[in-house]
């Protein structure tokens, strides 16, 4: 099933009959009328016609989502978001019109609408078209909008050039978002990002502010030279979650100097080698 078919099925299942009928009628009209005003009105009216309950999804639904579009993870979507994305996708047979309409919708969107449109990014046809929209969206000061793009969304890892990717990861730390829900976090790790993150850690240390243990996850695979010195410092002086993070990062480092550093903390070295210590556990403990 396509994402549009899945959204249609999930919403029809949970909405009252009259609300589901309104949505079906509105999406058909959006498709057939050719008038953008129909789409604007329908998108605006979604919250008052359908309410804002959570989208109820089973594990099987989430598997269907991922099968329909790899990496699509609608687990924390709400009904109004699903419906707004559905209304946009009603135009998917005409990718050019969809792109134009989405641009207009984003330009006059309220916060809930923006979150919905950005969560829908991986579902729109002709994916590269939306690169500028996605990087523009990340310039927001509204955390919910930022996270709609950055977290549980496969679009950035698939489409972003390295500079944009690195800015997104760094901004996630700045605004206090967790890194682990970023899709492709390990795959897109790179030496430049590792350097930026170490610089950022130094800034935080100078200011006497805490550093997220997750930061070291993106450093480890590219850690060498002075970066190893940073990890050594964290392993020695950090909080427990930070020390565990440093141990994992040292383990991931390709530099032969990393292993002896890790061995100086026998307990952590053992936990890492035995696979008991994972990034998921570091995050859970932090």
């Amino acid at each position: 099933m396509t994402p549009l078919e899945l959204l249609t099925r999930w919403l029809a299942r949970q909405l009252p009959a009259d609300a589901a009928a309104w949505l079906q009628k509105s999406s058909a009209q959006t498709r057939s009328s050719g008038k953008d005003a129909d789409l604007y009105f329908a998108v605006s009216l979604v919250a008052r016609k359908l309410g804002k309950a959570d989208l109820v999804l089973s594990d099987a639904d989430l598997r269907d989502a991922n099968a329909s579009r790899t990496g699509w993870d609608p687990r924390d979507w709400s009904a109004d978001q699903a419906a707004r994305v559905l209304l946009v996708l009603a135009l998917e047979q005409d990718p050019q019109r969809l792109a134009r309409a989405l641009d207009q919708l984003c330009n006059s969107a309220d916060v809930s609408e923006l979150v919905a449109f950005y969560r829908g990014l991986p579902l729109y046809p002709e994916q590269p078209r939306y690169l500028a929209r996605a990087t523009e969206g990340l310039r927001t000061n509204i955390k919910g909008v930022f996270e709609a793009i950055a977290l549980r969304n496969p679009y950035p890892s698939e489409q972003f050039p390295q500079a944009a990717w690195n800015q997104m990861v760094l901004k996630a730390l700045f605004v206090g978002s967790a890194l682990w829900p970023i899709v492709g976090l390990d795959r897109r790790a790179n030496a430049e990002l590792a350097r930026m993150l170490c610089d950022y850690a130094h800034e935080r240390w100078s200011a006497g502010r805490p550093v997220s243990p997750e930061l070291w996850r993106c450093v480890g695979p590219h850690a060498s030279g002075t970066m190893l010195k940073d990890l050594e410092r964290v392993l020695k002086e950090g909080t427990d979650p930070e020390r565990r993070a440093a141990a994992l990062a040292l383990r991931a480092s390709p530099d032969p100097a990393a292993a002896p550093m890790l061995q100086r903390d026998a307990a952590l070295a053992k936990a890492v080698a035995g696979g008991e210590l994972t990034w998921e556990r570091v995050v859970a403990a932090a």
């Binding site: 005003a37 604007y40 009105f41 605006s44 009216l45 919250a47 008052r48 804002k52 959570d54 924390d76 709400s78 109004d80 978001q81 207009q104 330009n107 006059s108 969107a109 309220d110 916060v111 809930s112 609408e113 923006l114 979150v115 000061n141 509204i142 955390k143 919910g144 996270e147 605004v175």
Partner: protein, 308 residues
């Protein structure tokens, strides 16, 4: 006591104002679209402004535990730039039905020109078609004539008086407004509109039925605490508490809540965290904690209750 300021231009105000308003008991406010103090030169800047009313400003208010609603419309002053006005009229349908848009407004007369009348009527038609409430701005100059004319036109366009709030009233206009069945709002604005001692006397004389107070605070010398200050002054001067509550809270809720976009449950029974918008995020506070938990706190006394 809880308060609503049903007319205030927060885009022109600071975070200090938001903090003081929340501390004084203001739980909700309405920000109507108006001009920027100088005329806009293109529809694009109007569009960005309307977007900020449903976007950034709403988010900013939420950081301080205040529920932000808005009214969307083409104001009277800028209706006189016909080229701009035409483009703005075409933009309005993109905003009018959004969540939290409680009214079409503020619209009406400034210089009472033909262009102002044309776009006032056209927007009343829009409000009628979309079943919206209307916030009417009454003019500073030739006020009484302009106020009566605004009401006559609203009736001519088929609006029910109970769906229309006539704002910026004074002693000279209040009777006409109440007699015709419209809501009568009073702007407590130092120097140019109403001082709040006068407002106490109006409450004494006309009671609390369909009477609303607001601050219309903006970039001019104005007071974002005008509603709580005036409510306290009314209490101190012997106006009954239930009347004060109607004038400073409940009537605004009844008038602007008619389309369901503003409801008491939004602040009495809020979701702990709005999962859709993550409104607990604190990018405005830059590291401080949001003040949501202090929402209902009212300081012992607000200094300088009276302003002229």
């Amino acid at each position: 006591m809880k308060f609503i300021d049903p007319h205030i231009h927060m885009s022109a105000r600071t975070t200090d104002d938001y903090e003081r308003m929340a501390a004084a008991g203001i739980v909700a406010l309405i920000e109507p679209a108006f001009w920027l103090g100088q005329p806009r030169t293109n529809a694009g800047s109007y569009m960005d402004y309307l977007s900020s009313l449903v976007g950034w400003e709403r988010f900013r208010a939420a950081q301080f535990g205040i529920h932000h609603y808005c009214a969307i419309g083409l104001n009277a002053k800028e209706a006189n730039n016909v080229a701009l006005a035409e483009e703005v009229m075409a933009l309005l349908p993109r905003y009018l039905l959004k969540e939290g848009v409680v009214a079409l407004g503020e619209i009406g007369f400034d210089d009472q020109t033909a262009a102002e009348e044309k776009y006032y009527r056209a927007q009343l038609d829009m409000a009628k078609e979309l079943d919206m409430v209307v916030m009417v701005h009454t003019p500073h100059r030739d006020k009484k004539t302009g106020t009566i004319r605004s009401m006559q036109i609203a009736v001519e366009q088929g609006l029910a008086p109970g769906r229309v709030i006539i704002d910026h009233n004074n002693e000279e206009t209040v009777e006409d407004v109440l007699d015709r069945g419209f809501w009568a709002a009073f702007t407590l604005y130092p120097h140019t509109k109403m001082g709040n001692e006068r407002m106490v006397e109006i409450a004494r004389r006309y009671g609390s039925e369909r009477i609303i107070i607001d601050s219309s605070s903006d970039w001019g010398v104005s007071d974002p605490l005008a509603v709580p200050k005036t409510a306290r002054l009314m209490l101190e001067r012997g106006i009954a508490a239930q009347d004060v509550e109607k004038i400073s809270y409940r009537n605004a809720l009844a008038a602007y809540g008619q389309t369901g976009q503003m409801a008491e449950k939004h602040w009495l029974d809020p979701a702990a965290i709005d999962q859709r918008t993550l409104f607990e995020g604190n990018s405005v506070l830059r590291g401080q904690q949001p003040r949501i938990d202090e929402l209902q706190q009212i300081p012992e006394r607000i200094k300088d209750l009276v302003f002229k």
